[in-house]
């Protein structure tokens, strides 16, 4: 059974059919990419699967369980993590705290114990600080461990999002354009980072415009256009697909 199974998924915003009848499935342990021109519905698809939007129609199954319409925090409990194309960093917190928030569900969140400074909570928090610093180093942010989030450059914040998502210890991670706006050197670093994440056994779903990175990393690729599935397959298959060449690669490459 596939880890994620999406069938006939649709969402409409008024007259805009942002995602229409899209079906695909993702096996555990692979890197799965979703490509398509701007406005094709890639981010909307991520929002549907991670519970930010409720589908108008269709079904989403995670490990066979129907998850369509479940809230984001319920999906987080099931090991689904994501980053945002438009940064969603908590600028009122330090960089490290942003990562620590990622571990939310793995902590004792009791209010009274927190207010009374229970030693068990404090010592767990100290461990978590180290854990967060290690995660920041893992994504290449070692020099920002003590930084305030609002003092960090764009490229670093993109990676901070990844570190926060990894702090959830997810099974499935959705990365929405992790290399957008990055320079070529940073893009290569993110490429390597995604590979490392996949090597840990985390299933990666990637939206990215950098075709080299997509072809390099992906086991399978889904092509969306105007909210519809245009093609799906391995990199080689997708590249040869005449519809894709006509509608997407032809126009953009």
């Amino acid at each position: 059974m596939a880890l994620l199974d999406v069938s006939n998924l649709s969402i409409h915003f008024g007259g805009v059919k942002a995602v229409q009848n899209v079906s695909f499935s993702i096996d555990a342990g692979i890197v799965y990419s979703v490509i398509g021109p701007n406005g094709a519905g890639k981010t909307t698809l991520f929002n549907l699967i991670t519970g930010v939007y409720t589908p108008t129609a269709g079904e989403i199954r995670l490990d066979g369980e129907s998850i369509g319409g479940k809230s984001p925090n319920e999906l987080a409990r099931r090991g689904v993590a994501r980053t945002f194309q438009n940064l969603q960093i908590c600028m009122n917190m330090s960089a490290r705290e942003n990562v620590m928030v990622g571990a939310h569900l793995r902590l004792d969140r009791n209010l009274v114990k927190a207010a009374l400074r229970f030693p068990a909570l404090k010592s767990r928090d100290r461990e978590l600080q180290t854990e967060a610093a290690e995660l920041m180093a893992f994504v290449g942010l070692e020099k920002y461990v003590e930084a305030r989030a609002d003092s960090m450059p764009y490229g670093a914040l993109k990676r901070l999002e990844i570190a926060r998502a990894l702090a959830m210890k997810p099974r499935l991670i959705f990365l929405d354009e992790p290399a957008a706006g990055l320079n070529p050197k940073e893009t290569i670093e993110v490429d390597h980072l995604v590979r490392k994440i996949a090597d840990f056994g985390v299933t990666v779903v990637l939206v990215e415009h950098d075709m080299k990175m997509v072809m390099n990393l992906s086991d399978r690729i889904l092509v969306l256009d105007y909210g519809k599935k245009l093609a799906e397959g391995s990199g080689a298959e997708v590249r040869k697909n005449p519809d894709v060449i006509a509608a997407y690669l032809g126009a953009h490459a």
């Binding site: 705290e97 939310h104 959830m168």
Partner: protein, 310 residues
Amino acid sequence: MHKNAYFGLSIVVAILAVLPFLLPNSFYMDLAIRMAINAVIVLGLNLLIGFAGQISLGHAGFLGIGAYATAVLPTHFGWHPLLAMGAGAAVTGALAALVARPIFKLKGHYLAMATLGLGIILNIAIRNEATWTGGPDGMPVPAMGLLGFELTSDKHWYWVVAILLAVSVWASLNLIDSPFGRALRALHGSEVASQVVGVDVVRYKVAIFVLSAVFASLMGSVTAHYVGFVTPNLADFFHSIELVTMVVIGGMASVYGSLVGAVLLTALPQALATFEGWETVAFGTILMLCMIFLPKGLVPTLAARFGKGE
């Protein structure tokens, strides 16, 4: 972030410890007590407004529930004052949870409107139930006996509220720097980001709203006992706004800002009393100037200027 935070607590404790020996007379002692009471309320309110990013324009209503529970239950029903205080807090907590849950599921300015309305309703109820509450004239509050010890003199009251304040500062600092507190700050920083890492946003907003309401209720009870008399003004709209202003002036999301805001705005009406009739105008002008020149509030602005965190 909070390495220096607990150092601030030791300064607060030191000030609280020496203050009563420096105050020249009972006028200042009274002022200090009222400052400390307000500071505790504002600490709770700042957790809601500054840290979690949610507004309440009706907190004086919760304060009123506590104050009137303390006045009415012992007077009319012979309840023990501590039991009355607990009952006030419990009713406040239940009411806050009841209204917060549906409101937090909506977005936008509903919370401001709903808390505003709730505060006004509570105030009207207090004014109208004259048989129980004395109506607009208010009612006296029986003295508080604690462990066979009557709290009568200002000195006793000072130490009670000083300890409450020190404990509240400590608990607030602890809370902010905990998994619970980080979730609160995260949902303020980015609601959707906090949701996707697993924060049940509605639940956290309700929890902090209830907590801050209960703080206000308990301190309403303390105020009632200390003053020995309650009036509906305690629970009116202007008092709610005053409390929010203390948060904003002192500094949103700043524990020590809460204290500074409470101290300044408790003292200000005294200082402005010479303006006779114009004190509200002077008050408003000062607030506007603060908002223009210190939009982040006093403590965060000064902290940033001197290059430190809180």
